[in-house]
Symmetry: C3
């Protein structure tokens, strides 16, 4: 193999890695505008396309939802009614680790709601995301969301950062 | 064209796309430090350089400002007086779509102010950004900012995510 | 030098720059999960590995800590006791400037704590980060953290954005 070819190989691998980071960050960033405009089942079904067909959304204080249909329906009970008054899911900076066609991310999310002249932080949560790459691009295989009120499960979730840091990205 | 050349072409196109994402994210991230240190017209005029010469900043609850001079002056009324007491414009993770020398982004912003021993969320807003690439690099052609208090215009703004997701990045 | 070689050179330089941005953003994003799971000296010592061996963490309202050992110990007094009740360090979008094997970043951080059914913003701070690239990758040489309560030192810290914007990234 020529020197030019080996340099191209290395560049392609690195650009592939950077692309995965960018696409996963973008997928996470899409959650806010999608959920805060979801006031009916059609829109929450579109939102559920973020997940794989059999993806899991384990919602803190609510419980796990299995598959796109159940995820879409999870928003029907309380969330749809909040949208007309303003509800705002802000995503914090994600820490992403890529492992071939799988990836993991940790980030915080804060949900703000209006409170007279101000806004208040209704839910502040940690999120542990698992992603898979497939025909539709990167999708969420599992999102575990936990309110930051302390407790052992929060510690288990956050401490996966140790593994993610130790492994680093893998091709 | 040789195989090496076609691989180089593909890499250059992909790196160009990644660069646009990075530069637009950086431009959005520059807003906070710029605005929260703007306590006079000289500094708000520098801040207004984020926009194109005839750029628009449509401020929720205030109204649209047309062009750099009007944008710079918009901060004179209330904002300059807040800076000495601390005002903090935190930018949420942006969702960016690149379309050649134009781009769109959606993100949330939270403005915090001190409140005794704590801080409070004064303004929580959705931002719809339109960018153009020119001689100065990426600049804001239009930023529409709306307080997340609900209402039809919020829904129109957030639902542009559908178009952005469907189109994806374009060269 | 052939045309292919010069194109490869340019691509390698640009990918190197994008990689620096991604790795520094990732380092900043690691702070939250690391600190909010640090309830003992072993974990805060791991957290302190984010800094260079003789790195500085100048904490707003607390004072400067010099070196990894002092940084690790800084969390012992109050922070460890907060972790079991939930404390959440959310990192805002960073503005990063790369200068060879050094880099600078500005971002905001918001620390949320539970407050009955809600959460409140306990600390909202500006952070001025200095990074160095070495055998361990990118590490924090200095982090200056200041509560956003106004004052001259906040203005000095935020106005470094002028230099960062003027210089841009440098190889």
């Amino acid at each position: 193999m020529s020197d030019l070819e080996s340099r191209l190989d290395a560049l392609e691998a690195e650009v592939h890695r950077l692309r995965a980071h960018q696409e996963i960050s973008r997928l996470i960033a899409s959650y806010g505008p999608r959920v805060d405009s979801a006031d009916n089942l059609e829109r929450s079904a579109q939102l559920a396309q973020m997940w794989t067909e059999d993806g899991i959304y384990d919602i803190g204080g609510v419980g796990p939802k299995y598959g796109r249909a159940a995820i879409a329906e999870a928003f029907a009970e309380h969330h749809f009614a909040m949208v007309p008054n303003g509800v705002c899911h802000v995503m914090g900076l994600p820490f992403i680790q890529v492992d071939g066609e799988r990836a993991t991310a940790l980030n915080y999310s804060c949900v703000f709601r209006p409170d007279g002249e101000r806004f208040y932080a209704w839910r502040v949560s940690a999120n542990h995301w698992s992603f898979e790459y497939g025909a539709e691009g990167w999708r969420v295989a599992r999102r575990v969301n936990r309110l930051m009120r302390g407790g052992e499960d929060i510690q288990v979730l956050l401490r996966d950062i140790d593994r993610m840091l130790a492994q680093g990205d893998r091709p």
